[in-house]
């Protein structure tokens, strides 16, 4: 790729706290893939879902401040964020501000106006489209063969399609393909875009227990060893609250929940601590250590039907 990949980067608040490992692995992976992330100077909270549940102007203004800051950066081709919630807020603001009347209302709340010149994308979209699984594959020095993953995109990475404009809104495949490029297997997971309970964990824990519980059940019944996700909130609900879910639903899941960037990082040769694996609540270490043996078994199994197939 001759063109230099240079983006404005919006880390999002959770990257400073509950999803530190996502932030850490995202930066490491982007660097390794030659994607330069330029932090938006003095970025602030996008408003997340609470803001748009209160008022769309307020929500768009909180996001808009960051859009305007990013537009001042030079030589960047897009604004990237790892977090789907931030992504939605930034994209919805940009989309709604195409209406000049609404844009005027929002700009009235801001110190300096949004010009709406840069596209907003997720880190996932940038890795998938600007680098791509084919370019990733040869870079993987450690294939994760034998790892069966339920790829979970969350409800707002791809929806609604006319705003998110990325991948299929019912059966997204970007993360599946990236995981397959690093040797892992994406199992059938029909609930790729079902909601996990979102931010109701604090106020209505029962909701998260039911919805995230169903996700874990479905992942397990489809043979997944682990869930891989692209969303801090989803990851927290599935990982940190897995014990709460087990208690409420009388289940005994012990399913690691990765960020896809952590797995790409591992495949690119990074150490577990470089991608923050120790910060996961359900430890994946035993699973990861079992991989070489599994890969071997898989290769053996693959040989038999292959030789049989050759005969017929």
């Amino acid at each position: 790729m001759s063109q230099k990949l240079r983006y404005a980067y919006y880390p999002g608040c959770s990257g400073q706290g509950t999803s530190k490992e996502y932030e850490q692995s995202t930066r490491a992976v982007c660097e390794a893939l030659g994607m330069e992330l330029v932090d938006i100077p003095d970025w602030s909270c996008c408003g997340s879902s609470p803001a748009h549940t209160v008022d769309h102007r307020l929500s768009s203004a909180l996001s808009g401040r960051n859009l305007a800051l990013a537009e001042r950066l030079e030589g960047v081709s897009a604004i990237l964020t790892p977090c789907p919630s931030c992504l939605t807020n930034l994209k919805v603001s940009a989309h709604k501000m195409k209406d000049p009347e609404f844009a005027a209302e929002v700009n009235a709340l801001l110190d300096f106006p949004v010009r709406n010149t840069l596209p907003v994308k997720s880190i996932l979209q940038a890795i998938y489209e600007d680098v791509g699984p084919d370019a990733l594959r040869p870079k993987a020095v450690r294939l994760l063969t034998g790892l069966k993953l339920a790829p979970y995109y969350g409800c707002i990475m791809n929806r609604p399609p006319h705003i998110m404009e990325f991948d299929d809104h019912e059966n997204p495949i970007a993360m599946d393909q990236l995981m397959e490029a690093i040797g892992a297997e994406a199992v059938t997971f029909p609930l790729k875009v079902e909601c996990c309970g979102a931010s109701f964990g604090v106020a209505r824990r029962d909701i998260v227990q039911k919805l995230s519980g169903k996700l874990l059940d479905t992942a397990a019944s489809n043979g997944a060893d682990a869930v891989v996700t692209a969303c801090p909130l989803c990851q927290m609900n599935l990982d940190l609250r897995q014990d709460q879910i087990n208690v409420a639903n009388n289940t005994s899941h012990n399913m690691p929940v990765f960020y896809y960037t952590q797995l790409i990082g591992l495949a690119l040769g990074m150490t577990p601590s470089q991608v923050g694996l120790e910060k996961l609540e359900v430890s994946p270490m035993a699973l990861l250590e079992s991989l070489p043996a599994r890969a071997e078994a898989q290769a053996q199994a693959a040989k038999k039907p292959a030789s049989k197939g050759a005969q017929s």
């Binding site: 400073q16 509950t18 003095d42 609470p50 008022d55 909180l62 809104h169 909701i207 940190l240 910060k279």
Partner: protein
């Protein structure tokens, strides 16, 4: 179940207001129910989504603004994405929640408190401060036991900072809130 006196209780201004704020035409809904069919939150709703749409068409303001469902929608976009009439249903629910707030409803007090806590945190620090907002939420609701079981899991991992990561210039964000309040009073 109460009789809905259609001749007297249809609030047309309410319908018009929702349509204006959401940019949606509620007459497009033909009650196929696909929104409810796909909604993951139906199990906690007091009124399923398609019935909210129906009550909206009938101008039943009180029933809608006082219901739990408007607070329990997580805007997961399932309804919007699958609506055969391209109605942005999630947006309509958002608007109903805005109206419920403005008119002083807080049927799901916990949910409202969480949102308020979050935004207060943002207004003060410029960024969401998770530890701070949790404490605010507990302060508002008196639910001291909220997620105490998670504390031993999360604290050793250094994920919850005891101090906020403030922006350099938190006043800039506070000003956005301030201007917003002024606009609202106009």
């Amino acid at each position: 179940m109460n009789v809905i006196a259609l001749s007297h209780s249809q609030d047309r201004d309410f319908i018009a207001q929702v349509e204006k704020e959401s940019g949606q035409n509620v007459s497009l809904c033909y009650q196929c129910g696909n929104c409810t069919a796909g909604c993951p939150y139906t199990f906690v709703y007091d009124i399923p989504v398609h019935q909210m749409m129906r009550l909206l068409q009938a101008g039943q303001k009180e029933a809608l603004l006082s219901c739990r469902s408007v607070w329990l929608c997580a805007t997961c976009q399932s309804c919007t994405t699958r609506c055969p009439n391209n109605i942005d249903v999630a947006h309509i629910v958002d608007v109903l929640r805005h109206m419920a707030r403005r008119e002083g409803y807080s049927t799901e007090y916990g949910v409202k408190s969480f949102v308020d806590s979050f935004l207060e945190s943002v207004e003060k620090n410029g960024r969401a401060f998770e530890m701070g907002l949790l404490l605010r939420f507990i302060g508002k609701t008196g639910r001291f036991w909220t997620d105490v079981d998670l504390a031993p899991k999360i604290l050793p991992k250094g994920k919850l900072s005891p101090l906020p990561h403030k922006v350099k210039n938190p006043e800039a964000i506070a000003k956005i809130f301030e201007r917003f309040r002024q606009e609202c009073q106009k």
